[in-house]
């Protein structure tokens, strides 16, 4: 009997998947004919949970929307609350926020490097990347009291001031990272195995990227210079010098090169933050959580996460609770429109490779 068509599930339990989601693949031989994304394994109902809590209580939930990079969520939440409540954050707090966001971006890129290299069997790179990411998590532990879910960027500022000697330790780490990233170029970015697997795979055109609203490295990998930090500067990004790296090929390798160049830019930003860090308070006086009320108004804020534009819609109704909060991360459109489209015609062994290059994080989809 001829068994030409095969349907398999790639995930939710699969080392090449970027979280608890699955892709249903229709195959002929090794070639994918149709891909269908299935989510629902990770639904925790963040948006609904937030509606049932006071503003201050809700702040502790948002970091859980993205495990590899929780801080853009905290920053978005705090910025939305501050905009609605008309709060002015001190300059020092803004600089500290930028430092946390950039350290978090660097940590997220290391995690991406671990996933991307693991997807093609270069496991040594992954182990190095996880170890180097841990050095950043050590700094987070010292600054925030936690390694992954920091719960640090708080409406009105940040929860703690910098520990003594912290900026020196950041500088030491940055010097180490600058040297260390060259090793990653040798064993991963310039590796012939990676190039042969990544070049010409998962190509996205400029027109398609604009028409479908893709963000982050997907957009920059096909030559579009778009970055929220430059296009709509928030915090103190307009006072800092940095480039927005782009590539033109639009394939997996182009996106990897963009990410690698962004790591250099994050280090450059962090060096400036360390030099320019002003003195002052880190937190303004805030009312207690039962007395803190949001006016009847709504707002839309966005930041640039390590995977692209991350936006929050927030509406208040005059009470101490948030009437509605909507999360718009990069993953929704990347995991449905883009991934389902890119996988058609690709080989089965390229699924994890393509998926990792898009920066998909399932909790953002099922928020």
């Amino acid at each position: 009997m001829e068994n030409k068509h095969i349907t398999i599930f790639h995930g939710p339990q699969h080392p090449g998947i970027t979280g608890n989601m699955s892709i249903e693949l229709d195959l002929i031989g090794e070639t994918i004919q149709k891909a269908t994304t299935h989510v629902g394994y990770l639904h925790r109902g963040f948006e609904k949970l937030i509606e049932r809590r006071t503003v201050i209580q809700a702040f502790t939930i948002v970091c859980r929307i993205c495990v590899p990079e929780p801080d853009p969520n905290e920053a978005n939440f705090a910025m939305a609350v501050e905009e609605l409540a008309g709060l002015e954050v001190t300059l020092r707090a803004q600089y500290i926020r930028v430092m946390v966001l950039e350290l978090s971006r660097l940590a997220a890129q290391f995690l991406w490097m671990a996933g991307q290299s693991g997807s093609i069997g270069l496991y040594a790179v992954g182990q190095w990347a996880i170890a180097d990411r841990d050095l950043i998590l050590d700094l987070f532990e010292e600054l925030t009291g936690a390694r992954v879910y920091h719960m640090y960027i708080y409406p009105g500022g940040v929860r703690r001031d910098l520990p003594e000697g912290f900026l020196e330790r950041v500088s030491t780490l940055l010097e180490y990272m600058k040297k260390r990233l060259k090793d990653y170029d040798d064993i991963f970015i310039n590796n012939a195995s990676f190039k042969s697997r990544a070049i010409g795979v998962g190509i996205i055109s400029k027109e398609e990227a604009i028409a479908n609203g893709y963000v982050g490295q997907v957009l920059r990998g096909c030559g579009i210079k778009a970055d929220v930090r430059k296009d709509a500067p928030y915090l103190v990004y307009d006072e800092l010098e940095f480039e927005v790296p782009t590539e033109t090929a639009g394939d997996v390798y182009a996106r990897a090169l963009v990410r690698r160049a962004e790591m250099d830019q994050s280090i450059h930003i962090l060096e400036q933050v360390v030099t320019k860090m002003p003195e002052g308070e880190v937190m303004i006086k805030m009312p207690t959580h039962r007395k803190f009320k949001l006016p009847k108004d709504d707002t839309w804020v966005k930041v640039e996460s390590a995977r692209g534009e991350f936006a929050y819609y927030m509406a208040g109704d005059g009470s101490e609770k948030i009437r509605r909060m909507q999360v718009r991360g990069p993953s929704l459109v990347h995991a449905y429109t883009l991934l389902e489209d890119l996988l058609v015609g690709a080989e089965l062994s390229d699924v994890a490779l393509i998926m990792n290059s898009l920066g998909i994080c399932p909790p953002e989809i099922e928020r």
Binding site: R53, Q57, T60, A124, A131, E141, G145, M151, I187, H289
Partner: protein, 130 residues
């Protein structure tokens, strides 16, 4: 079919061999233990001589992880309710909002974070008095 060899790309990954002479990043756990940073958010402690039993910590906890438990002993004359907080570590998310709102600053988080037990009821944790 045209063959081309990426010589640099083939040889450069061999630099990984130099890692054999590098000191590993890992530590020999459990023989060597890593100290938690100062200010790490681990288990709760409650200095009972200062605790006034106000239940602010219970009120702010978004996970309903804190219960105020009546005690027979009088730890603090100002604690009129004679209630002290008990934490449910099946619910706690270590956000530390409870310690932020504590008026006498008696409730704190310490560096200790390991609790191995056979009984589910041990999740209900009375903070150490310190």
């Amino acid at each position: 079919m045209k063959w081309s060899v990426d010589l640099k790309g083939t040889l450069s990954p061999l630099s990984i061999l130099t890692a054999f002479w590098q000191k590993p990043n890992t530590i020999a756990y459990p023989a060597v233990k890593k100290e938690t940073a100062k200010g790490y958010r681990g288990f709760h402690t409650n200095f009972l001589a200062d605790c006034i039993g106000c239940a602010n910590c219970q009120d702010v906890c978004m996970n309903d992880a804190i219960d105020m438990i009546k005690t027979d002993k009088e730890y603090n004359a100002k604690n009129a309710s004679q209630c002290i907080p008990r934490i449910d570590y099946g619910r706690c998310c270590w956000c530390s909002l409870c310690t932020d709102v504590c008026p006498p600053d008696s409730l704190k988080l310490e560096g200790d974070y390991l609790n191995v037990t056979k009984h589910a009821s041990d999740f209900l944790y009375m903070p150490k008095d310190k």
